[in-house]
Assembly symmetry: C2
Homo-oligomer: 337 residues x 2
């Protein structure tokens, strides 16, 4: 197996920088859109293991990336806990029921992984079809990010309802965050048992919190997850827009820290020390540029991060209107450096 990414995550020497891209299994690929068109909707798509496994593998074949990431959604955990959601075209997720009072939290159950058998099945199929070409990444949303959706009921620029809950009901917030955390631990362990070679925790809404609230309501639970899966497979924490949290994320038992494009590679390396791998951090919009710009940015990125203890990626997911040929060009640039 091409295990470059696992070795990079564990701090072992690599011959070249491994590369994968957040949202690489997605709308940029015509082959993805063809499979997607066969599903009744996004959630049906996610819940059909054969389809999920098929699009998981597409970027390995088409883009030549050094890892696959199981095609799924972070909101499968709230759903498994008892809060179903819909994915509304060009609007995003929408929950008909949200968490408002203690009873709403009591009504939720800790997911044990069985509710998410469809993800585990997708992992098993993807592993088989990957046939040890590259590692398969499993993932979950960070408890804070899932909490934010479960209170808010949809996406939001400010997540002010979720943050209001932290300020007005801190004890209840912790109660819900604990339930989400236990569910996430069960889920990640089940993903590893099903075949995931690596895990990533996505804290997509980290950046709406200040440092103190972040430590209390988000990082505490991310750290619990890292503790629980430590030693199983390498773990990456990606906290979008949480520039203030890098030093504290480095204190968790994660192997790799994902960075967005606002972060300085040199400054982050100085902050986290030598014992963590860094991942990131190209601006997804850079892939709209000409190939000469893409090549120059890829070079600059690798010069800044260095070739060891580094996994090349974007600083956010690929935007759907990106030309996949440019994405492939970017991947090839990284692999040629």
């Amino acid at each position: 197996m091409n295990d470059l990414i696992l070795r990079a995550a564990r701090g072992e020497e690599v011959e070249r920088v491994p590369v994968w891209l957040m949202r690489q299994a997605g709308r940029i690929l015509p082959e993805y859109r063809a499979v997607r068109a066969k599903a009744k909707g996004f959630i049906d798509f996610v819940k059909t293991p054969e389809m999920a496994a098929e699009v998981t593998i597409q970027p390995v074949d088409i883009l030549g990336v050094d890892a696959a990431i199981i095609f799924s959604d972070i909101l499968v955990i709230p759903e498994a806990m008892g809060l179903p959601y819909q994915m509304i075209e060009s609007k995003g997720p929408w929950f008909e029921k949200t968490v408002q009072i203690e009873k709403d939290i009591d009504d939720l159950h800790v997911a044990d992984g069985n509710e998410l058998q469809y993800v585990l099945d997708a992992i098993k199929i993807a592993k088989k079809d990957l046939n040890n070409r590259v590692p398969l990444i499993g993932f979950c949303g960070a408890p804070w990010t899932l909490f934010a959706y479960m209170i808010e009921g949809s996406g939001s620029k400010t997540f002010s309802k979720a943050k209001k809950f932290l300020y007005t009901h801190p004890a209840l917030a912790h109660k819900l965050l604990e339930k989400i955390t236990l569910s996430s631990i069960n889920y990640l362990k089940a993903q590893v048992a099903a075949g995931a070679d690596m895990l990533q925790i996505f804290d997509s809404w980290a950046g709406v919190l200040g440092k103190e609230q972040y430590n209390e309501f988000s990082l505490k639970y991310i750290s619990m997850i890292c503790d629980a899966v430590h030693g199983l497979v390498p773990v990456t924490v990606f906290a979008k827009d949480a520039h203030f949290a890098v030093m504290d994320i480095a204190k968790t038992k994660c192997n790799t820290i994902g960075l967005d494009w606002t972060m300085s590679p040199h400054a982050c390396r100085a902050i986290v020390g030598k014992d963590k791998t860094l991942q990131g951090n190209a601006d997804p919009c850079m892939l709209y540029a000409d190939e000469s710009v893409i090549e120059a940015e890829a070079k600059k990125m690798i010069q800044a991060f260095g070739k060891q203890r580094y996994i090349a990626n974007l600083g956010h997911g690929l935007y759907p209107d990106t030309d996949f040929k440019k994405v492939k060009f970017f991947v090839d640039c990284i692999k040629g450096l």
Copy 2:
């Protein structure tokens, strides 16, 4: 006149910390909503000097803040340049025409301030009615933020169309940014001539850019504006989410740097040195909390920033569903410290 805020901005000694709040003239006040109900729509409201002046003064009377800020909108500049917009309820701004090609930029004209006579008239009325109680702040959007709306045509989570334009048409981007900058300089000078005692430049979408693009496409133009109005009245630069830019903003001729709640007061003071005033940075969601929390947070904030070279404010605009009594409590806390 209570000139605490002007003295704080100029680095002169103050007896107590001055305080005002972004979006203090707004939906949190029942008195604002009463005036707003009389207008045909948001833009009609902004364009009616008597109404704009009335709501400008309300927070001085009701909340007891140390400054008024003229009630207006950053998008009056694109409109004055030739791109009219609508404000769609609960959706935000929407431009029927956007900038896509060079001709679109050539068709825009540099605003000379006359197109914005209604803002200047509002300033004159507000100044008269304020009767020298507190200073009046004028403002504009940063060129990058206005550019982002002019390309994108509406709000966006990623502003990926505007960023794509930077990557694919950098020369055209500079051409448009220059036109916006010249318009903004004319506009701010006209605001000072009409009576504004202080100016703030809002770079609301600073945080979607990385450091290099920020310096090239945003800060360069903010700096030109600071140069052009330097010496007239104190100037504040507020670049939301631009944690990476604090050191470079400190190199401009601004007096004050606005910070959001993700920024560390101590770290920012260390970065900017002693010659700039800092403004901010409470989380607007904190005002949802109990008074005991609000009081503790106000104290913590002032202890962290110190009482000199500091203007108390939020790290973003007030959220519309905030209880104005809690806002007043927060203002009173600051004034009592």
